[in-house]
């Protein structure tokens, strides 16, 4: 489809200027890798004391962390422009988007490349790979397909939450993505097995803002770990729901768009 073919074209247009700031790129990449290393060190220290948390071993939690990194990486490498939405709304930058024959949401999300996403994707992929390699499951073709489907769904959920929370700016009229960023911070809680949290927090992370479907539930299903293995099979459904809801919020928000006076 034309819409999909055009997306890399729009995004790629920024690539050249990105390379102008090579130093920035390297620093960001290093920082991202370093953060994942810190995560792993922290996890090994934790699991040196308690080898299993609610049925989760070190390697299964590494897989979870990997899934989060992968989803965040795709979100920033390919859809970083969403985080500029507040600014775009406030400055009236949607004016020209609205008169071009291309979805406004895709023009917005392709407005920037988050190059640190690349290192997140790579480290996330490595963590998932290592985690799966240490698991005891046997890889039937069916399970491989399930794994791919779950990971794609997980990425869709993360990107949809980014979109939905950033689109809140149509109502909040703040020039910065504070709200979306706060929600993103909440999502960090879902890095750990959900079963360690009290019920209220479980409800938030599983239902209200389904961060738990980015890593906890789908990885539990894939690795057959923990107590609620079947829930993860709903991940594609949740993904479709999140994408639909985010698109709906964006569309409603767009009707409220008031441009900017000069």
């Amino acid at each position: 489809m034309r819409t999909i073919r055009l997306y890399p074209r729009l995004l790629g247009a920024h690539f050249r200027s990105l390379l102008e700031y090579e130093a920035d790129f390297l620093i960001l990449a290093a920082a991202t890798v370093l953060m994942q290393v810190v995560n792993i060190v922290f996890l090994s220290a934790l699991f040196a004391k308690v080898p299993v948390i609610n049925g989760w071993t070190f390697w299964s939690v590494v897989t979870m962390f990997g899934a989060v990194a992968l989803a965040e990486g795709v979100g920033s490498l390919f859809f970083d422009g969403m985080w500029n939405l507040a600014w775009q709304i406030n400055r009236g930058e949607l004016d020209y988007y609205l008169v071009r024959p291309y979805p406004v949401v895709l023009q917005s999300s392709s407005a920037a490349i988050g190059i640190n996403g690349l290192s997140n994707i790579v480290t996330g992929g490595l963590m998932i790979g290592a985690g799966l390699a240490h698991s005891a499951i046997d890889w039937t073709p069916w399970r491989v397909a399930l794994g791919v489907l779950l990971l794609i769904s997980s990425v869709v959920i993360k990107v949809s939450i980014n979109l939905g929370t950033n689109a809140a700016c149509f109502w909040l009229s703040s020039p910065s993505p504070m709200f979306a960023f706060a929600m993103h911070q909440v999502g960090d809680l879902a890095r750990f097995p959900l079963s360690i949290y009290p019920i209220a927090l479980k409800a938030v992370l599983g239902v209200v803002l389904p961060f738990a479907f980015i890593s906890f539930f789908p990885i539990a299903s894939l690795l057959e770990t923990g107590t609620s293995r079947w829930v993860g099979l709903l991940t594609p459904v949740i993904a479709a729901y999140c994408a639909g809801l985010a698109a709906f919020i964006f569309r409603r928000g767009l009707r409220r768009y008031e441009s900017a006076g000069n």
Binding site: L6, R9, L10, G92, L94, D95, Y96, P101, Y102, N262
Partner: protein, 339 residues
């Protein structure tokens, strides 16, 4: 069928009425108060295909808001817009191919791309084939001289360069309707002239053009139809020449004589005209209504009284007329007839 049609078009902006500073912001969180601003007020407008229309009015009159409503950027508070019979929000994609918009105050070029690359991205968004694209660029280049600015980064363009590039950007897809909102703002005279010439070319090709400006020099020699908006309401919509005929009847004949003539003599021989002395000796100004006498008649009468060294006739510019409309000196009703 008109290509652009608006009925009862109204836009009310709701502005948060915040007090100043932090205290104001906090108070606003608890008791939200708003102030309504009617930017466009029941505007009816209908533009035929191929028509060129000037949309003028003072700053803050609602010109840009009207353009945003007519291009589907804003959803009207009430009333409706049709472009080629289409609804600008419901049929956004189709409408987008048919309209081109330029906001002189804001660029649509990518700041981190050279102009050539910005234009190429737009070409791909609109799905213009390469041959057509090259032909169009070549044509823009004739008047706008794009060649020198194509390799320049968006952020490094001067205002004049930016406006020329933005004009090309607004037209890469060959739109049938073009809205130009303050397209000459801030430009120096040489660039202004070039840009104005470009507009005339656009009009001559049969593109429907709505040109918004508060610089009246933009519209003289560009279009026959004039729409004046003030405080969100259309106060005149009609023929530019008719406005001039109706409200710019006054002519001023400046004469220079070879020897002094008593003012009284001149006045009695030109009843109905107002004769005054000008600052320099031997120069007189004769004000008259062009429908009461012609400049030729006035000159003939004066020539019987004395030898004329020189004369010149001034007619008021449309600028003067519109200024009088703004100042409330002239009141027009919807049909453009003075009340």
């Amino acid at each position: 069928m008109p290509i652009v049609e608006a009925r009862g078009l109204t836009k009310v902006f709701r502005r948060a009425d915040k007090g100043s500073g932090l205290a104001g912001s906090v108070k606003h969180l608890f008791a939200r108060r708003y102030q309504d601003k009617v930017a466009v007020d029941h505007v009816d407008l209908s533009i035929e295909a191929g028509e060129a229309v000037a949309y003028v009015g003072p700053n803050g009159a609602g010109k840009s808001t009207t353009v945003k409503l007519l291009s589907g950027i804003l959803v009207p508070t009430s009333g409706e817009v049709r472009i080629d019979g289409l609804h600008p929000q419901r049929d956004r994609m189709t409408v987008a191919h048919r309209i081109g918009v330029l906001f002189g105050q804001r660029t649509q070029l990518w700041w981190d791309l050279p102009v050539s690359e910005s234009l190429a991205v737009l070409r791909d968004i609109y799905g213009v084939d390469h041959a057509t694209y090259r032909k169009r660029l070549a044509r823009f280049d004739e008047v706008l001289e794009l060649g020198e600015i194509l390799p320049v980064m968006g952020r490094k363009l001067s205002l004049g360069q930016r406006m020329r590039a933005d004009l090309a950007a607004a037209l890469v897809h060959g739109p049938r309707v073009v809205y130009l909102d303050e397209p000459t703002i801030g430009l120096d005279l040489a660039v202004k002239d070039r840009v104005r010439e470009f507009f005339r070319g656009l009009r001559d090709e049969g593109t429907t053009v709505m040109l918004t400006s508060h610089d009246l020099a933009d519209i003289e020699g560009f279009c026959r139809r004039l729409v004046i908006i003030d405080e969100g309401r259309i106060i005149f919509d009609g023929d530019l020449e008719a406005v001039k005929d109706r409200f710019a009847r006054e002519r001023i004949l400046h004469v220079e004589t070879t020897r002094p003539v008593p003012l009284e003599t001149l006045r009695s021989s030109l009843p109905g005209a107002e004769v005054t002395l000008e600052e320099t000796p031997l120069r007189y100004a004769v004000r008259f209504d062009r429908f009461a006498m012609t400049a030729g008649q006035a000159v003939t009468v004066l020539a019987t009284l004395t030898d004329l060294a020189d004369f010149r006739v001034d007619e008021p510019s449309i600028e003067d007329v519109i200024r009088r409309v703004y100042s409330g000196d002239l009141v027009l009703d919807d049909t453009g007839v003075p009340r």
